[in-house]
């Protein structure tokens, strides 16, 4: 600030940096102060989605694309061995689960209640994917609370036993190193030991989360804004951020999970600590790899709704401030962004197999941090209901699927394939997501133009072919 004018630099959550020169020192300070306060509202109900009134649509009758109930009722193959339990109808068994979850038919609600007490945050194993081809499933949960004195829980063992009923074994993908899993004993957590869960085979895959991931994002964004034009510095900063390593781990762990189910023909349980972050990331990616129905625009959004919104990813805590925040927030972590980046890598490797475009991924990356819509508000279903999100805000996913919007977000080259799409995880095959991290540069604009050109080619061809 100098003399009678001041400069405000606004660093946005979508990586944009804007600078204002404002005459009058006092005014400048006032504006800065106001922006600071308005950008950090605590009360969910004062956030913008509650005031957003698009002219072209009224509040929806049904919020979201689907409910656990309708999802279950559509999956007829599932009904023989799996049931819909409403044990969590008042969110008392697990506050971060939806009111209805899919569990083995042979397991009663009483068992679930007891098993939930043995899992962190009450997140007992529930079904998230059923593989039609061989009847195998992906189940996710949080860590078991074995603690230092190696507690057991027969209900939890029974529940997992029921998951692999009729099969010789199942895999547990634990997203911690075996060392970390053992250390979890000290804080009351732990893992499924061989002796108690005989027919389950544990595989440890260390995945970073929480603060480490957040710092990785901060470093990468910092590297991308380095203007030194020094190649060595760029490559070492890129390496040092470790972001691409996290992408690589995410895709390779998801590949492993998908292999267990599709190639090895066995069911799998995924968890790490809380089961609200990496578990969701890995199960989502694995479903994209093996399940063609998740790859259409609707399918993908429905998958996100099931796994991330109903599945209880704490968006409000994880996606509060993004990369530029000075405050070291304990809960901030870009897991969802890591998912979008990993999906973008899939799209690069299989440009015809996904029904949605990069624009959708970019839009979601923006909306998760700041939105007109209520979709990403709060931390779970329970909080959203309590805050009236479903009654008083608009739903992003529904709006993305509106006929006027959907063309923009769909992939013009989409050619659905029934096959699994196995991503390559070689370092040579993974790339920096320029569309997001260098979003406000000339380069990103040129690449957008190319996508537009591709769309035009397809439209022109489509018109001729139809005429």
């Amino acid at each position: 600030m100098s003399g009678s004018s001041g400069t405000i630099t606004i660093k946005c959550k979508d990586m944009r940096v804007i600078q204002f020169d404002i005459p009058g020192m006092e005014q400048c300070l006032n504006i800065a102060h106001s922006i600071e306060i308005l950008s950090c509202l605590d009360n969910v109900c004062k956030m913008y989605p509650f005031f957003y009134k698009p002219t072209d649509s009224n509040l929806p009758k049904q919020w979201g694309l689907s409910t656990p109930e309708t999802h279950y009722s559509k999956m007829k193959d599932l009904h023989k061995k799996w049931r819909l339990s409403s044990v969590n109808r008042d969110y008392s068994v697990c506050p971060s689960y939806p009111p209805a979850v899919i569990v083995p038919s042979s397991i009663g609600d009483d068992v679930l209640i007891k098993a939930a007490k043995f899992r962190q945050g009450g997140r007992f194993p529930v079904l998230c994917y059923y593989h039609r081809k061989n009847g195998m499933v992906i189940v996710r949960s949080s860590q078991p609370l074995t603690g230092a004195n190696r507690k057991r829980c027969s209900e939890d063992e029974l529940l997992l036993q029921a998951v692999i009923e009729g099969s010789d074994k199942g895999y547990i993908i634990d997203m911690r190193s075996s060392q970390q899993a053992q250390q979890a004993w000290m804080t009351g957590g732990g893992f499924e030991s061989k002796s108690c869960y005989e027919r389950w085979k544990r595989l440890h895959r260390h995945m970073e989360r929480g603060k480490v991931l957040q710092e990785s994002l901060i470093k990468l964004v910092e590297a991308c804004s380095d203007e030194s034009h020094n190649m060595d510095r760029w490559l070492s900063k890129l390496e040092n951020s470790k972001w691409l390593s996290h992408v690589q781990t995410a895709l390779s762990t998801a590949g492993l999970l998908a292999e267990c189910v599709e190639r090895d023909g066995h069911s799998a349980l995924v968890h790490g600590y809380e089961g609200t972050d990496c578990s969701l990331l890995i199960s989502t990616l694995a479903q994209l790899i093996v399940d063609p129905s998740c790859r259409s625009l609707e399918g993908f959004l429905a998958l996100l709704e099931r796994e991330w919104l109903q599945g209880g990813h704490p968006f409000q805590q994880r996606c509060a401030h993004s990369a530029f925040s000075h405050a070291r927030l304990q809960q901030e972590s870009p897991v969802f962004l890591l998912l979008l980046d990993s999906v973008w890598q899939l799209w690069r490797q299989f440009p015809l197999a996904l029904g949605f475009s990069e624009v959708l991924l970019l839009r979601l990356a923006t909306e998760a941090y700041a939105s007109d819509y209520g979709t990403f508000l709060c931390n779970n279903d329970q909080e959203r209901c309590a805050a009236g999100v479903k009654d008083r805000t608009h739903c992003l996913f529904q709006s993305l699927l509106k006929p006027t919007e959907r063309d923009y977000y769909s992939n013009p080259l989409y050619e659905p394939t029934e096959l699994a799409i196995w991503p390559s995880v070689h370092p040579q095959s993974l790339q920096l997501w320029k569309g997001f991290f260098l979003r406000w540069t000339e380069q990103a604009r040129l690449l957008e133009e190319v996508q537009e050109e591709i769309r035009n080619m397809v439209i022109k061809w489509g018109k001729l072919a139809l005429s």
Binding site: L203, S245, L352, I421, E449
Partner: protein, 643 residues
Amino acid sequence: MEHIRLPKVENVKLLDRVSPRRSRVGTLYLTATHSIFVESLAPQRRETWVLHSLVCCVEKQASTESGCPLLIHCKNFQVLHFSVPQESDCLDVFLSLQRLSQPEKYEELYCFSYKPNVPEAQRRQEWAFVDARADYRRMGLPNSQWKLSSVNRHYKVSDTYPADLLVPYSATPPVIVGSSKFRSRGRFPALSYYCKDNHAAICRSSQPLSGFSARCLEDEQMLEAVLRSNPHSDFMYVVDTRPKLNAIANRAAGKGYENEDNYSDIKFQFLGIENIHVMRNSQQKMLEVSELRSPSMSDFLEGLESSGWLKHIKAVLDAGIFIAKAIAEEGVSVLVHCSDGWDRTAQVCSVASVLLDPFYRTLRGLMVLIEKDWISFGHKFSHRCSHLDGDPKEVSPIIDQFLECLWQLMEQFPCAFQYNEKFLITVHNHVYSCQYGNFIGNCQRERIELQVHEKTHSLWSFLWTNRADYINPLYRPDHSQTQGLLRPSTAPYCFKFWRGLYNRFDQGMHPRQSVEDYLRAIQEETQQLEEQLASHKQKITEMAREQSWSTASSDKSLPPWDPGNNLALANTPQDYTSSFLPSSTPKDLDSSTAILPPHDSSLKAETSGSDQESGIADLSCRSPLSEESARDPDSDEAVYSAA
């Protein structure tokens, strides 16, 4: 043939570098020109052919239980890992290949024995396809400022220069000869590119023999003549593409760079591109990284950084941009040189030309550019690409860097280039393959002595004949970003590792579906449909005319024909195959949709799909499925267990 110690070895294993479980067993044959591996088990008996002249080095490793490993590294970055059952066989193959891949005489090169079934007259025609002189005419030369000089007609002034050169109109033969005596290898300043619109020119030469204080009046006059040939400019740039330190070191050897005080109105500039030895070592390091079996992301990025390769690519592109901007934006002529003026100078002049002139971004344009700036100006292809057994210190990937600069530009401007990545890779392949005569020898004089035009085939006409494979479906010559000067960013994040070239043969690493193929199919289909549409419109008008005659005469049962109203209906595809009978619609619609590309490409997707399936073998989780496998050291091909 006398070099083949063993024509055939059975039960040889060809190992897959990325996933050893996908290895194949078969028979290895050695022929005069190729090594051929024929798979024995698979029903299709897949064949792998390797041209001897593409072999860069052969490596025989210590024998193991399963056989004797033999590694063949190729100049196109293919790496073949064989395992031969008998050590003695392996040694024979090794020695044969070593000799076969390092011919001692030009006459042994493949291009002199490569005889496709082409009549002699047509073969001669091939060589007329690309002509550097025609490019000067395209630029509007010779004109009142520039003339075609015959001073080097018999390669007497500079034996590494071409016979035809463009020099300033005012440069007399004594000035040219005098100047050439003051330049390394006699490579005096001559024109490389001329900008018709503003008369600015890129000239090239070798370094002056200035030492610490030497001067040459004719050389000073020569530069002045270059400057004066651009009437709108009162100064010119003299660009030394070397790092300043290297140039200073050359002064001790009686060479060096221009002293600004001795030449009138020049601005002197160093551009800091490293020499051929640095580039050779850098590429070697980069290739080692690209060949790592299952590197972590950090291994890869650290290795890439320490190789320095992308830094060098950026230096070449930065230099090209400097020159292109001087020409296009300032309208100032530039003289470019390095030491001898055939490596860095060739790179920088040709990169600048591509940035300046959209013509060089077309298929034919790039051929002309390589013909002019590289082949005719004496880039020492045979030395740099080690066509013959020779001094390893002469080998350097200078042309690789140029092609990579183009690729990096294509990544930034996907609509600006008529050619695609495959074109660059094919050119790269044949620069090294010696299958065509274009790149044989080190200068024009040598090629004439070798009778290359009389005895071999030209790559350019082969590429042109197959141009459909090399056209970029996204090329938009009329696009705003495509016209005039390209303004690339050289921010470090704009440079990427060129997987398509350096890991070309590692199938598992590339995208499993190709946008380009899809778009090409659509484009072809669109074109066909447009043609059909046009011909049908014409037919309709004709038929309408006929019909108006016939209805007038007899048939009243047909509905009254109105070409205007029915045009839309007539435009539907069903009309292609049958008459205008309105009843035939549904069936024909089906048959006509059957020819559309989505159908094609879904077929394609299925075949590539089987590839996707087989690709899974890479990702097998055999070993990861053992408990605690994160620490499992022999995680065999667990690609997903990396990191």
